[in-house]
Amino acid sequence: MSEAHLDVRDLEVSYGGVRALNGISFSVPHNSLTAIVGANGAGKTTLVRTVAGMIRPVRGRIVFEGTDITGQDSSETCELGIGQVAEGRQIFPNLTVAENLRLGGALRRSSGSYGANRRRVFEMFPRLEERLKQKAGTLSGGEQQMLAIGRCLMSSPSFIMFDEPSLGLSPLMVEFIFATILELKKSGVTILLIEQNVAESLALAEFATVLENGEIALSGPAAEIADDDRVRKAYLGL
């Protein structure tokens, strides 16, 4: 498939009465690790939620694997294979770890591979298997992040959006999460990484886009973006 895994054209979104995204276009090549960086409030989470179908755009087109999914509900985008590890993890604290995982695998697309997905999640995150009966709310920050990723993998996604996976984690855990993301990419999943931690994500990604106040400031190979002096000054404090 030559064209991009995800293609966004002139996307305009207003959220809570404010124009959060005004006319952004970018694409995510197949099996790539593309990063979107920018300060908080720049519209990154709005972008993720619009692609996932949780917010309806005012204008613009979203094309996934060649089909136009603009305006489709999140239940439809998940069935197509768009997975999301949301900002703040959004797990179900009062449900057990096992129930969180079962809910992730409850889609038609992944009903056949439920057992296989479950084994893969336990291989990647053994600690989840130890805590299956525990209420998800009692897990540590890092463990909740593992659960959020595990729950997403249960729906055998072909495309995963990570929204601020490093938020509030210890450096050690951030290292582990980023290693996991890289491992997922190697296993053939396309990754869209949204991060405030600019230094880390640019080091990890092949392509990057800088989002500022709902507009795309810069886009291209991650290495170039990292060397751009505007980015270094604004985001790396150099």
Binding site: G16, G17, V18, R19, A39, N40, G41, A42, T138, S140, G141, S166, L167, G168, L169, S170, P171, Q196, A199, E200, E212, N213, K233, A234, L236, G237, L238
Partner: protein
């Protein structure tokens, strides 16, 4: 010494968000509180401003113990805070929003309207004075949050990531505003991620990491501090 924080601690069930943090803020100083996300910065602010009851420790404003007082009592004593996620009063106009801050200082509507108009001019929102807060863009909402706090005539102003999400042009304007506030005698304690701003404004920097005070000192000292670089600024960054 305008603010004395002693052994501030906050423990939630199974997580100690802030552990034994102590620091002072001298009158008319600008102190920056930095650290990675989730280091406990906002939790500290909430405890100082009275929105959150500390598990232990004390906060003294001027010569008065304010630990455990209600937020409105602390605000009237001159310690006013802004919120990391802005909280505009959506169905009220910009002027009305800022007047609520002004009413902390005066009961007279006329006077409050004057104070509010002046604060709005300070932050450059005068063209949107009668616009509804719900229609403002994010940068304007940040300015509104700032104007509201200024209108309450604080002795000590707590700014929680007021620069986040702003373009360089807008952050420079806020830097000017904060400098003008300092010139007018206001003391400022700010949480900030944008290093450029921290360097431009801060007389002193306090670094929090995992709820504990990692370091405290002048910007140059902090920039060279190995622990700070390793845990927060990332290997390559260096504060000039």
């Amino acid at each position: 010494m305008i603010l004395q924080v002693r052994n501030l601690t906050k423990a939630f069930t199974g997580l100690v968000a802030v552990k034994d943090v102590s620091f002072d803020v001298a009158a008319n100083e600008i102190v920056a509180l930095i650290g990675p996300n989730g280091a406990g910065k906002t939790t500290c602010f909430n405890m100082i401003a009275g929105a959150l009851k500390p598990s232990s420790g004390s906060v003294v404003l001027g010569d008065e113990m304010i630990t455990g007082l209600m937020p409105e009592q602390i605000a009237v004593k001159g310690l006013v805070r802004t919120f990391q996620i802005v909280r505009p009063m959506r169905t009220m106009t910009v002027l009305e929003n800022v007047m609520i801050g002004a009413f902390a200082r005066t009961a007279n509507v006329e006077q409050a309207s004057e104070i509010a108009a002046e604060s709005i001019r300070n932050v450059g929102l005068e063209s949107k004075e009668s616009a509804l807060a719900s229609g403002l863009t994010l940068p304007d909402r940040k300015m509104l949050e700032l104007a509201r706090a200024i209108a309450a005539r604080p002795k000590l102003l707590l700014l929680d990531e007021v620069m986040a999400g702003l373009r360089p042009l807008e952050t420079d304007r806020i830097v000017e505003i904060v400098r003008a506030l300092k010139a007018s005698g206001v003391t400022v304690l700010l949480i900030e991620h944008v290093m450029r701003v921290v360097v431009a404004l801060a007389d002193r920097i306090i670094v929090l990491h995992h709820g504990e005070k990692l370091a405290e000192g002048l910007p140059s000292e902090i920039g060279a501090n190995p622990k700070v670089i390793e845990s927060y600024l990332g290997r390559r960054a260096k504060l000039s």
